[in-house]
């Protein structure tokens, strides 16, 4: 049995979700017989890690700081094995635009987009290109902060008039925003787990169904009762296999490890990948644990194998 530091909380806007994920992971680790030290990540992280000297760190953080390679880099420096994707895969997936470039280059489906920094708008007059962008992508458009997880800061623009305020809002969350073609379709999430013996497996597909037939927003994502999830999603076998195949290909392409959740829209012509979450929610209402459960992997086992994989990777790289 190992001493496991569970890193949770932090300063991202998904702090609350992370605290819930962390608490649930700690419970599971204790049931598995590990010695558990919970760390609410702040300015004293280095000292806290030094003092507890863990065998492995379970990163239960979401959003910037925890999911984007920052904490992973620090753990690499300290030589502490950690769960989930490594630094480069974390950084690539956390930046939705980098991830989309990689997917597009590899021929995997993802909606058309254009991305800009606030500097481009302010200093280079990119605002003048908005008309051209709108023509190219067509309405409605989705405006997203590039580095935010979950659905935070996402706005929909149905007309040119709504675009500036949507961009302004997205810039509140990130200095880089993406304008993406809106793809209508069912909202799917495919969990992917690395296997103990190498390779990876796609879990049963989860479908998020908004109760009020509204856009799936940040509130809905965390509010019990506002969105219902179906698992496995009601898809015919061939389509489900295609969706899983796409998710698995994206996971491998971006070099994810341990686990990840691939968010997709099932459009008329097949799945379109929106983003990859390298540390998906692990709360009682999160989709990855539920999908794993549907595949016969209960939460304790999910947590246990994630820790084992972290140790395996550390051994193989020494």
């Amino acid at each position: 049995m190992s001493r496991v530091a569970v890193l949770k909380g932090g300063r991202s806007l998904e702090r609350q979700v992370s605290l819930a994920s962390g608490a649930r992971v700690e419970d599971a680790l204790e049931r598995l017989g590990h010695e558990v030290v919970g760390i609410d990540v702040g300015g004293d992280l280095f000292t806290a890690l030094h003092d507890c000297a863990p065998d492995v760190a379970f990163i239960a953080m979401h959003g910037p700081g925890g999911e984007d390679g920052t904490v992973q880099e620090l753990l690499e420096v300290l030589g502490i094995p950690y769960t989930g994707s490594g630094v480069s895969a974390s950084a690539r997936c956390a930046d939705k635009v980098l991830a989309k470039h990689a997917l597009r280059d590899a021929g995997l489906p993802t909606p058309d987009w254009v991305a800009f920094t606030d500097t481009a708008f302010r200093d280079l007059g990119a605002g003048q290109a908005l008309d051209a962008i709108e023509q190219r992508l067509d309405f409605p458009l989705v405006v997203k902060p590039v580095g935010q997880g979950s659905a935070i800061g996402i706005k929909f623009a149905r007309s040119a008039q709504e675009v500036p305020a949507a961009i302004l809002a997205a810039f509140s969350y990130d200095p880089k925003v993406m304008i993406e073609r809106f793809v209508a379709g069912r909202e799917l999430a495919a969990g992917v787990l690395s296997g103990r013996a190498g390779g990876a497996q796609a879990l049963p597909i989860v479908e998020a169904i908004a109760r009020d037939r509204d856009f799936y927003d940040f509130t809905a994502r965390y509010d019990i009762g506002r969105t219902r999830f179906a698992c496995p999603a009601d898809l015919d076998a061939a389509l489900a296999a295609r969706v899983q195949e796409v998710a698995l290909a994206a996971y491998e392409l971006l070099g994810c490890y341990g686990f990840a959740r691939v968010d997709m829209i099932l459009a008329a012509d097949g799945p379109q990948i929106l983003e990859l979450n390298t540390i998906p929610g692990l709360t009682g209402t999160s989709t990855l644990p539920q999908a794993a459960d549907a595949a016969g992997i209960d939460f304790d086992e999910l947590v246990g194998r994630t820790v084992e994989l972290a140790l395996t990777r550390a051994r193989s790289t020494v």
Partner: protein, 470 residues
């Protein structure tokens, strides 16, 4: 590769609902929603944030020796009673303290006309519990106390908000709304108002409007829920009478009382002791008391004994006076900083008391999103949308000046102003593409009147993102 090789039990039925508990929730929980703001505010736990978001009194002003003295008094004479259940309507000595507090605002009540509640919040909850059936209409100010909106929603009320100006709720608008509702066959159960130093707007209802509101309530036989947490925290201007004190004296031929009055110890002694009270017409009071039995049997005996001991030990007004002086200086610091740092497009209220300033920005700035940006600068405020139940308020914010020292208020406002400037510049470069001023600017040609600060037009194109149940 598939997951089949690790499968240990048969797959669940298709379309199995993962949301295991949702089928068990009461319908009304559909309207109890957490908000983006709550998640954002979780970040303000971090100590290094200058929070202008609270509604907090500064309890560090309370001298520890006074706390010790009160507790010693309890230990000497009332240990067993303080640790015991108490009467549902509250301890008699506490009621007598409340009579004194209300007399300070020239509002005469008898001790048996009130019940002690667990904070003013419970009083609001009990009034809703007693009066509201699902679908009933509650009238409130727009904006209104963000903490009351979830309570109204929990009882499935329809909240109709009446716009305010510098003189508080516009009573002519109220009367027109009441006529309109009557024409639709709907009769509101009560009108919720914070007439003095309103939360969040900071404005106070004029004397003429107070008189008219009390008349309207009597003419139409509607109840007014007067919430008065801040009345004693006045920094300038003359005191205004409470609605309760303006009612026709009991026993007169006109008869009938229509004001339910809610008070709290939170801003004059302590928010942590959770002691408030409600004064109501006797038949209503009896029902409120029954409602309280099912809620919590009685408010904390220990903290009620604390109140009684504190009042017995000395003059409670001294602490209120000290707090008032401190908040006055802080209010001035906030108004000065706003004047110094905020761009011309920002408008704000000038409160004569209380704890809050309400600031309004151009329509295209969403303050919930802006809060995310503000948190990166380690400063927080309350986004305005929580003060409305109809999607308005998205471009406003509530700023609290009571809970942080002057230099932090100044720095906090400086940081907020900086990001507002940044957003204005960005919007300019985004809309400059057509070479014409954005349409929104016309709406922001504001006069120096306070009225436009509070009149928030419904957002054009307000659509799917924030749709709310009808």
């Amino acid at each position: 590769m598939s997951f089949g090789d690790e499968r240990r039990r048969p797959p669940r039925p298709a379309a199995h609902e993962l949301e295991r508990y949702s089928a068990l929730f009461a319908t009304r929980t559909g309207r109890m929603r957490s908000s983006v703001m709550r998640d954002l505010m979780a970040v303000t736990d971090r100590l290094d944030i200058i929070s202008l978001a609270g509604g907090l009194p500064d309890t560090s002003l309370f001298e520890p020796r006074l706390f010790t003295a009160a507790m010693e008094r309890i230990a000497d004479g009332a240990t067993a009673a303080a640790l015991q259940y108490g009467p549902t309507d509250g301890l008699q000595p506490v009621k007598e303290c409340i009579v004194q507090i209300m007399a300070e605002e020239d509002t005469r009540v008898a001790a048996d006309e009130l019940i002690v509640t667990t904070g003013g919040q419970q009083a609001i909850d009990l009034v809703c519990k007693t009066l509201l059936d699902p679908g009933d209409v509650v009238i409130a100010e727009g904006p209104t106390y963000p903490g009351a909106v979830p309570t109204f929603c929990a009882y499935e009320a329809q909240v109709v908000q009446i716009e305010m100006d510098a003189d508080g709720m516009q009573i002519d608008l109220l009367e027109r709304t009441l006529d309109q509702l009557a024409a639709e066959g709907r009769r509101p159960k009560f009108i919720y108002t914070i007439p003095t130093f309103q939360n969040p707007a900071g404005v106070s209802m004029s004397l003429a409007r107070r008189r008219r509101l009390v008349e309207v309530a009597r003419e139409r036989e509607l109840l007014v829920l007067e919430d008065n947490p801040y009345g004693l925290l006045r920094y300038e201007g003359d005191a205004l009478p409470t609605l309760r004190s303006l009612e026709v004296p009991r026993g007169s031929r006109d008869g009938g009382e229509f004001v339910i009055y809610v008070g709290t110890m939170s801003k004059i002694l302590s928010a942590g002791i959770r002691i408030g009270w409600v004064v109501a017409p006797r038949p209503v009071l009896a029902k409120l008391n029954l409602g309280k039995v099912s809620s919590d049997l009685c408010s904390s005996s220990l903290t009620q004994h604390f109140v009684a001991a504190y009042f017995a030990n000395g003059d409670w007004r001294e602490y209120v006076n000290a707090a008032r002086e401190t908040y006055h200086v802080r209010r001035d610091a906030m108004l000065d900083a706003l004047a110094e740092f905020m761009p011309a497009q920002a408008r704000w209220t000038h409160p004569h008391g209380g704890l809050f300033v309400w600031l309004t920005l151009p329509d295209y700035i969403d303050t919930t999103d802006l809060l995310a940006r503000a948190l990166r600068e380690h400063v927080a405020f309350v986004p305005g949308e929580g003060a409305y139940d109809d999607g308005r308020g998205h471009n406003a914010m509530r700023l609290n000046f009571s809970s942080v020292p002057e230099e932090q208020i100044r720095e906090g406002i400086r940081r907020i102003a900086k990001i507002v400037d940044e957003q204005l510049a960005l919007y300019g470069s985004l809309t400059g593409r057509h070479g014409a001023a954005p349409a929104d600017d016309a709406a922001n040609e504001l006069t120096e009147e306070l009225a436009p600060v509070l009149e928030l037009p419904r957002r054009s194109g307000e659509g799917a993102r924030r749709s709310r149940p009808a």
